[in-house]
């Protein structure tokens, strides 16, 4: 458990070091903002409208697929660690598990959601 103190310390240290760097930069850099400079970049045009718009749901479908397969990976890791002790039974079980997920992948494939339109 004590090992995980390193995680907390590195998290705080990482944030701290970045903020210190930003602070040092702030001391030596110029600051001269004006309206045109702070405008959103759009290839020398006046920006047209807001960019916080609704966008295509294909991103959402890939995110959904990712969640399914990443949760599966969470199940795969303990299985992989304990595989040496579990033997043939675990192997067959995992083949069935992966097989079910692959059926899901084939279904998504046939439905055409893997296509980036």
């Amino acid at each position: 458990m004590a090992q995980y103190a390193a995680v907390l310390i590195f998290l705080l240290l990482g944030i701290g070091l970045v903020l210190v760097t930003f602070f040092v930069a702030r001391l030596i850099r110029p600051a001269n903002p004006y309206k045109a400079k702070n405008q959103t970049y759009e290839c020398a045009e006046q920006p047209v409208g807001d960019s916080w718009v609704q966008f295509n749901n294909r991103f959402y479908i890939f995110a959904l697929l990712f969640v399914i397969f990443d949760v599966e990976a969470v199940f795969l890791f303990p299985w992989a660690v304990a595989f040496g002790q579990l033997g043939l039974f675990a192997l067959i079980e995992m083949v069935i598990f992966i097989f079910i997920l692959v059926i899901g992948l084939i279904y998504a494939w046939k439905k055409g959601v893997l296509k980036w339109v």
Binding site: V7, I9, A31, C43, R58, F59, L76, A80, F83, G84
Partner: protein, 347 residues
């Protein structure tokens, strides 16, 4: 004197100073963190310079030549320049999101180094969930990309951030499954255990036919995509998205994204070394030299990719991951299970 002995000596000096044990450990870990930070800063500066030299020589140019011997001081000058640059925040930007995105990008890249073994005993903390921790923590990069894309309130940045998130997320799955096949053979998630299970060169997971090389190739392809490098650098496609998610960033905030990108490249190579190339193990030379040599070789391979392959189209990129890499990595995992069970190459 070995590096580990120096650290041990310093730790003992600290312990003898009369501080309570808790504080000794905290100070030691904080020092380790600062050392890792310094190391990564130097590595990033070196890699930027090296990338420019490699790219130049592949294209029969020289690259930076005027600042010092073969331009070695060029990236130091660049870093100082970036430090002095004005920090421009667009009026329309979502300020807190815009501010924290580069911080998260850097911290996610930095924290992976808690459990990367630089050499025999040269590891900050040998977490028992080692590789799973690294996979989890480096995934936070996606959040920083999305935050940068959304917070900038810029159409190019938004498209770049979204593409990048979709890409990183898609390549994460085959990568994790490829890593899983190594964990299966090593029987442990700890990075140190994984290295120790490949003591001799014929024990390297790269050479455990037939599953090893397949897993390695899947890992390298997915790693290239995870770090958004050519041929998978769509998020930054200069010609269409001008710079992608980091277009509105300038000065130190941009530098943090840049730093995180090069650190991630080094991380991918370091994990590749640990999982497939026997980590720090090797004859004659000190262990950290073997680790650095192997890692820098993998970094060189990634650079080599960049100056050899053209960029993929976005639909090809997504289909390659879901329709090709993912089924292959599943088949490879089952193959690895069969090999482990039958005792084939299981020395």
């Amino acid at each position: 004197m070995e590096i580990t002995e120096i650290f041990k000596y310093l730790y003992e000096q600290l312990a003898a100073s009369g501080l309570p044990q808790v504080w000794v450990d905290i100070v030691a870990l904080a020092c380790a963190g600062v050392i890792v930070f310094g190391f990564l800063a130097v590595v990033a500066l070196f890699l930027v310079w090296w990338e420019r030299k490699v790219s130049a020589h592949i294209q029969q140019r020289f690259g930076p030549m005027r600042t010092g011997w073969h331009g070695w001081r060029q990236t130091i000058a660049d870093a100082i320049k970036l430090l002095q640059k004005e920090d421009i925040i667009p009026t329309l930007a979502d300020r807190p999101v815009f501010f924290w995105a580069p911080v998260i990008a850097f911290v996610a890249a930095f924290m992976a180094y808690i459990t990367i073994p630089f050499g025999d005993g040269l590891i900050v903390a040998d977490l028992n969930i080692g590789i799973l921790f690294i996979v989890a923590i480096t995934s936070f990069t996606v959040i920083s990309l999305l935050m940068a894309g959304w917070g900038s309130n810029n159409k190019y940045a938004l498209l770049g951030g979204m593409r990048s998130a979709a890409q990183v997320v898609s390549y994460e799955v085959p990568m994790v499954v490829a890593i899983c096949s190594i964990v299966l053979f090593a029987g442990s998630l700890s990075m140190v255990d994984i290295v120790q299970s490949q003591a001799m060169i014929y024990q390297w997971y790269l050479f455990r036919l037939p599953f090893g090389p397949i897993a390695f190739i899947i890992y390298i392809i997915a790693g290239t995509a995870e770090t958004n490098r050519t041929p998978f650098d769509l998020p930054e496609a200069e010609q269409e998205l001008v710079a992608g998610f980091n277009i509105e960033y300038s000065g130190m905030k941009f530098a943090m994204f840049f730093l995180a990108e090069f650190i991630n490249m080094f991380t991918v190579s370091a994990i590749g070394t640990t999982l497939f190339l026997g980590g720090w193990q090797g004859p004659f030379l000190p262990s950290w030299m073997w680790f650095l040599g192997k890692t820098l070789f993998l970094v060189f391979v990634l650079m080599w990719f960049r100056w050899t392959y053209p960029r993929l189209r976005v639909d090809q990129l997504m289909e390659f991951s879901w329709k090709f890499l993912l089924p292959i990595s599943f088949a490879n995992l089952i193959l690895a299970g069969l090999m482990k069970y039958s005792g084939w190459f299981n020395w």
